[in-house]
Amino acid sequence: MSKVFSRWLPCVTLGTWSAILLYFVGTGRIASFLHPSFRPGVLLAGCFMLLLAAMFAFVPRVTSCCEAESCGHPLGRMTLGRVLTFLILLLPLGTAAMFSPTNFGAVTMRNRGVAMDASAMPGGASKQGREQAGAAEEYLAKTEDGNVKAAVIDLLYAAQDPSLRQDFENKTVELIGQFMPDNVSNASGNRFKLVRMFMTCCAADARPVAVLIEGDSKASGEEMSWIKVVGLVTFPVESGRPLAIVKARSVTQTDPPEETMLY
């Protein structure tokens, strides 16, 4: 029986972990879970675990001592604890991998608090884009219709930076995000939030960021559905600070972008 615990169960466990890691990397689903800089590590770990699994399978270990109480081999003896160990190593990961979506639902977004102000976002990363950017023409990509292709985070940062504000103000932008009703600054009922998740390292630390979208009629839509908004960028002062508000010209349903997270 010790062979099962010292050879085959570790082999199956490492093989399963490796398969899950390589599957997420291979299918590109890893993009929703990790910042690009962490993804190569998952690929390497998946490959290395496959190697470890193969070694467990093909290079048998010396297990003659493993029945003894004093055996120091960590995976040697069959105990209830060992059974539990392998169950905990396999079941949660396997179940999570089978049922995990590639984005958070509205409840988690609300639990984390939707940031509509750049100062409430995780530090340095938000500033990188601006620091790398030169003149507005250089970094503001355009769509085929001539609209500025922007991300939610660009407008949040612009609201705090007068020079960036000039680059966006009164320009027509195209934004993609998820629909979320707004219950705070929406007295007329014609506003909603366009939300994206902003990731620092992994989805566990991602924070929802949003801009307000203002339409002509009462805002309605399926919560968390992906939409494309085309509209005019404004920065009115509300509650004593400039707030990014897009006056929508069109709101259409769209497919999720390839990278659902912002970095």
């Binding site: 290395f48 190697l51 467990f56 290079v59 081999h73 530090g123």
Partner: protein, 317 residues
Amino acid sequence: MSWFTFRFPDFAFSFLSILFEGIPFLLLGSVISGVIDAFLPAEWLTRFLPKRSGIAIVLGALMGAIFPMCECGSVVVIRRFIRKGLPISCAVAYMLGAPIVSPIVALSTFAAFRGQSPLVMTSLRLIFGFCLAVMVGFLVRFIPYEKLLQRGVIESMPDRRRGLRFAAEGGEHEPPMVGERKFTQKCFAVVQAASSDFLDVAFFFVIGAALAATFNTAVNQQVILPLAASPMLSILSMMLLAFVLALCSSTDAFIAASFVAFPFAAKLAFLVFGPLFDVKLFFLYGLIFRRWFVFGLLVGLFVLVALVCDRIAVLGL
């Protein structure tokens, strides 16, 4: 809105992301541990370790600056070092110091706190973390190892009475002397040791990640915001947050910096306490140390970090 709303899909998403982020580092720690096991003769430790234990502890706490290691990886590495015969006080100093006293942590903290006294925050974090690592290392010196370590770790250690040299001679379960084995045999030994260590530690990492993912997704984090107004409450709440979020020390500064409502001292408490002790470390430390020590470390570090940060808050930082 309720303070707790559990949704399995969100939990699974967060749980997987923590595992995907942590597994490569855990594996790296396991491989380093395997390399130490197979290639590092125990007598090297006696040769290179300073004779005075005080200096050895200080050096242990500073080793992270040369060999940066995240908190998950350092636990695996020090377990192997203890088995090799490294004094426990030095190993503990490295284990606590490495996740904070590291160039990666310094750079990420400095970058995250741009515009929020980055130099002061980075310096205080590193100095405070280093001092705590040294302090715990010195305290551990006075505790008999039989009372400190788990039975399995003690059994795999060299005979303490005969010192480190005994380790090089090989115990009942020690492989033959590392110097006598062929390179390929050593490589096999690395892989075997790494896989065993990885599976051992991954078990606790999975449990810690599950708890952190539950808090990450199910608990309404807005409930802690009113605590920001009181200096002591803000410090305690940020430390609790660091404990349950279980973030990696190389990136936690970006999260801490985003809590703009919280004072400087509370963020410092988050950045110092988190890498020293969080929910996943609670389980990982239990792999090496006895439960009373793990609880004692938790309470001691919590109280000490809270008190020092409260003093820093009084100074007006």
